[in-house]
Symmetry: D2
Subunit: 367 residues, 4 copies
């Protein structure tokens, strides 16, 4: 939708808040009535994106305590919009005055100023990573609805800088055993060493995260412009720092051949299944009943201590070194953002899909 | 929008048509009044996506002659919706009866049937490549508006199967000298040889196309969910066969370091410019005034002559060999689809951006 | 949606066409798959809005023959967009050249020119009554879906100029026995005499039509901005010439008292019912299971033979007398427009309503 | 938009909050950057809709103190979403437990329960009049932007029950001299007496409010479905208790003749003007440069002390008398809701209209 702060068609989230305003929040509209929901359900997700939980992440220690302001009655959703917010507490506005006029390289300072003619320079304003708080809180509700339907969403880091997980060692249970959310302990160690070195140099790293969605029925997504691949793409590419997105074999498929890339169908009891899943669970952009798999490429964190050259809003050439509590990599904290954004898309597609067939509609309204 | 056939917010295209229906078309709503527009303007774009123009493409020889049905008065757009259509002429419905019950691997047969309970099995129905006719016709109008504003959009093939253009030899003027739209004659020859071999084996290839947008002002795109990267992503990932999308350095950026990937700002006269363009022209998802560059990965064409195993809608296991006039690669024909879809996104962002600043709005309405 | 030619959220119609272009049409997106549909189903509705069927209507004798161009396979909807069009045949462009520069009083000539800077002056262009062709064709499909669900929509003329039906004589079966669609034969005769007199004076009349929707389940419509009353209001007020809209007792309710206007609930077997229906079937904007009743006020047809003073686009003062084949009243032809627009709103609300409750969603996806 | 809590296309408000939740609020997205905005600007509007300011209104004395949580930097809008909220303070949840199972006549209790299967019975939940807080706060910003453009919006009560203002005595300056916002002191006195009598009987009244918009340029609104009349209609009919809406002469126009109802154009210097304004400022649904005038009919307040018969959710027949602090009429408090909703529609139409003409777009982007 125009202006950019709303996402979704039936299940819709509208986020608000800057890095250094009063707070950050989200309004969730279109959540089905009858879901048990507590602040704790949401907090679990926020805690996973919180800075300061590991040595690799920003030292800013905010509580990020969620409050639900509306839409719940006696612990259950009522169909009314669910407003949630987190108060901003951990910041000091003074931190950023030195950056007031500067266009930090790799940041949105310059582009926001060109667009709006004014810019909240404190901590990136609306372009701050804190913006994801609202997405995660809203998407946590979608995850909860999906769980009731037997649908699981699971993301993890597959590479940081040059370090990539070994798919033969991949073991999803190990993801939560390291602060990088890498499901391969050996790779996690290497990546950890690499990040220490980055930090020492005043530098930062990028990386890739992968997301797997299980339990989806076939038939989700709409033809042409609203393919599930396109909606997931918009959702994921809207996350700060994401520069690439791929489904299934993605860019590798471009080097493959039809005879290899096509997944053969076979019968398993009454079910139609695929022998392989190069397609990543989508054919014609519509779910085929196998696992949906996608990946997102994150650029290196732009806030680095190393000296960079830039200009300020008066046109003067300047040097900048961004000190302070910054993550050397964003991917581990973004894993939960991937999961929750994917959940929003998938839930929306499930709700939209209810009206695809006349016979099912007639059944629904026949008591 | 729900149901999937409409794209855009102010400049909006709604496409319709199946492979083997009466025709295929598009309604363009929100085109500014006052644009000179002829059928010839549109036809030029359609001719570039037409099958049968080269030995590499499908032999189906359709005229794909566009008709403008509304929205033009004395050669000029009036602000009313522009309806355009192409009649289907080149097909014989009999062609497809053998495939009636089959779920072709890599195609949307199975997923459409799961979604709708019914399927127009002739030539892929709505999931056919013919669907892109409507996009291209609609987007051709966007391209024409952008030309008036000094904005250019230019796409080309950068790889086919394992063959990739050599960026040191890249010369955009050579793009149109080969039917693969590859701006590197040597790579084009290699790719051509590779495709012949594919065809001989009854196989097909994938590939990558790149698109460059020049002349964009800074400030386009909206924060958070409607970043230009996200809108372009949705637009491009909605094209049939696209499995990956990246902006600027994309997946490579994930392996880079902040000190390298950040583009330094400098002053050029009164203008702020960037020394490099790893970002692909977008910072915080908003255009920064440099060239916007993105790439799309296409999977290998799923229709292959080689024998594949599959099942039919009765659950029986079957073998299938898809004979007939099929492209061994889709990328060259998709180049114009990339350009026109990108044009839709960019024009829409220009129109939306007009309301970002109060002072500009006041100026606009002050005569 | 922006630009104005699309209506609806899940069941969506996009109309196109001017009075004197190549034709007029509609693309229906989001129609559930599995509906039997023929051109005859649509034609029946178009015939009811056709000019020239009675002495009271315009003499322009167009065939208005509908063609379905897509979305149907073997007589059944496939879920793909249904494109339909009517070719323009009955007009001569020469008719209108005398009006080229004139701003006809009561018409949209002036406002379109201010908005777009250009105007298709032939027959009102996009602001012509022919624009309703697309709505009626699209809405006819909605009516057909609703019929399958046991929902009926029935509109009729309740007043023409000063002549109003007597509610005590009202007999809906008599509606189709007179060309004014008035369900009171005596009032129809009076109105007919009144219109003859209008025509003699070179004048025209307005009127009111009422619409009744039966068989709706309780619970349709969404709170706050998407109340069913608001959506019906938008749909009906978007019809050319409509200047007023009311639900249930409408403006009369404003003069009533709470003790009278409140409808008491009572029990009828297992059902909750209302003793009266001052509310017109909506409480809090959501359907309550009783009949939905609304009315639309149409202004007098602005095209009159009597001499009027006006200006032209050069600022010169002019006189104008609009001769030719014009209806002295639009209401009888608009009755079918009311029905089909209401059908679009109601069907959309039924589809949207499927996702209001978690338990029903879980049931839907549990096989 | 689906789910109902968002209104607008470019300037968009998303409201949340129930009568007895933590608070009520709104997120405004798409507000142009560069507007000076304080909490005081908003508070002025909220104070006008506050209950308890007069003997005629509910005794519930809430402060309704607005807090701006985001989107403002150094007193100026930044283009980021503006989140605002009012904490709920004046209620005691115990008040409503007696009504827990009852379907109050004229209220949305029954319809919400049918839709959602659950209902926040405290004070009407989401269907409460408190829902308008969010609209008014959001619309107040639109009013402020319009003021900068020289556009004024002014609403007032024209009737309460059977008492109607005398248009010959109408004097808008007197509106604020009585708590009924009636611009005719004599009518205000009569209405006041009528309301006292209503209250004595335990009954309530309806009424009509009128709204006038001045200073609009010609050309606002979009053809066909997004006529300004249709958008205003949706906006106004979405306000709780509104059962009718009319533009210009409205329902009276239906009894008029074309020769009377058509407004003649004439020249005034370089401007085209109309001699009369039966049209209420809209031709073909697009603004014609004269004042836009519309009216809304409100039903009598459904909460009355007089005994009514109804049923409860167990199907038992019950009697109900709604005691407590309820307005005998809603119209005076709704006047500010009309103004702010109209402001949202008008501002949105101004922003959308910027892209209607190619030449103006080219001018805009040419520096």
């Amino acid at each position: 939708m125009a202006a950019g702060s709303t996402f979704g068609k039936i299940f819709r989230i509208t986020t608000w808040g800057e890095s250094h305003g009063q707070g950050t929040g989200v309004v969730v509209d279109g959540c089905p009535a009858g879901l048990n929901l507590t602040e704790g359900d949401i907090q679990t997700f926020l805690d996973r994106r919180r800075p300061g939980v590991s040595g690799y992440s920003s030292g800013r220690k905010e509580e990020d305590k969620i409050k639900i302001l509306s839409g719940i009655f006696e612990g259950v959703t009522t169909g009314a919009p669910i407003s949630m917010m987190v108060e901003n507490t951990g910041h000091q506005s003074g931190d950023y005055s030195a950056l007031k006029d500067l266009y930090r390289p790799g940041h949105a300072d310059y582009t926001y100023e060109m667009k709006y003619g004014i810019r909240d320079f404190r901590g990136g304003g609306r372009a701050s990573g804190r913006e994801t708080l609202g997405r995660v809180a809203g998407g946590a509700i979608a995850v909860k609805v999906l769980e009731e339907m037997g649908i699981g969403i699971y993301a993890y880091t597959t590479s940081i800088g040059p370090v990539t997980v070994n798919r033969e060692h991949l073991s999803l249970e190990t993801r939560d055993q390291n602060p990088l959310y890498m499901p391969d302990p050996r790779a996690a160690e290497e990546a950890s060493a690499y990040l220490k070195e980055c930090r020492k140099r005043g530098d930062s790293a990028g990386g890739v995260a992968e997301c797997m969605i299980t339990g989806l029925p076939a038939g989700l997504g709409d033809p042409v412009f609203d393919k599930l691949s396109a909606s997931l793409g918009q959702a994921i590419l809207s996350i700060g720092g994401v520069k690439g997105f791929e489904i299934g074999d993605g860019f590798s498929a471009a080097r493959s051949a039809g005879s290899v890339n096509n997944d053969e169908f076979y019968r398993d009891g009454h079910q139609v299944k695929k022998k392989t899943n190069h397609a990543g669970g989508l054919l014609g952009g519509i779910s085929d009943g196998s696992e949906v798999i996608f990946r997102a490429a994150f650029k290196p964190v732009p806030s680095i201590a190393a000296v960079q050259r830039t200009v300020d809003s008066n046109g003067a050439e300047r040097e900048v070194s961004i000190s302070g509590r910054h993550d050397p990599v964003i991917v581990p904290r973004a894993v939960v953002v991937l999961e929750t954004m994917a959940a929003c898309v998938v839930l929306d597609s499930l709700l939209l899909n209810m009206s695809s067939r006349l016979d099912r509609i007639l059944d629904f309204y026949r008591d």
